[in-house]
Symmetry: C2
Subunit: 127 residues, 2 copies
């Protein structure tokens, strides 16, 4: 069950690292296909899942029914434009205190939180 190197996985990760717009599996597929014409969609899904499980990338669920992927695994937050659907990185101070607030009246063990922000992006507002 050891993980072996694969050219496909490398190409997928390399591509993802060039993008900062959090592409979906399908976008990864059509782009990677340009330089690796017969890679299959299943391979893209399998490797995105594998990379996410290994912690090398992050899977983003932003409520639009499609998974997005992010090569930036550093702790940060996302904004989703309700108009154009774009997923944008937010540079912001840490808000981990909300976990403490949430835990105050709860008897389970809170390990983390998922937060994303939504509204209208600068681009859409200026039109």
């Amino acid at each position: 069950m050891a993980i072996k190197h694969s050219r496909q996985r490398q190409v997928i990760k390399d591509f993802l690292m060039t993008r900062h717009d959090h592409p979906t599996a399908d976008v990864v597929y059509t782009n990677v296909r340009q330089e690796y014409p017969n890679i299959s969609l299943g391979t893209v899904y399998r490797n995105l899942t594998l990379l996410a499980d290994m912690g090398e990338i992050t899977r983003l669920r932003v409520g639009d029914g499609v998974d997005h992927f992010d090569a930036d695994t550093s702790r940060h937050y996302h904004f989703i434009c309700s108009k154009c659907g774009q997923v944008i990185d937010l540079k912001m101070n840490n808000i981990d205190d909300i976990v403490d607030i949430a835990g105050m009246n709860f008897n389970g063990e809170i390990q983390g939180h998922m937060t994303y922000f939504y509204g209208i992006c600068g681009n859409c507002r200026d039109k």
Copy 2:
């Protein structure tokens, strides 16, 4: 386009109000079916969407790939157990200041946020 009363929609909402575990459309369907044996799954989906659009219920996307529904439309947060998948209400103080924090270095208009917490629920931890 006026909305007409429908017995099915009423039954769906009545059922949802008896539950505090945030059931999925399918769970609503199988339960409502007990007292309304030939209601169709499409009707359940259509009415859940309609009720959510009217603001009478809330659609919850907690990242498990399935929509959950909540008859409690008051402002509150949710905890999802990573082990059993249960969605539990959290009574907690308001954390709306995170929207201000997020907006500090962002040039779009942030209208709101989606936050849910995850970890191990009390039940699963005690096993």
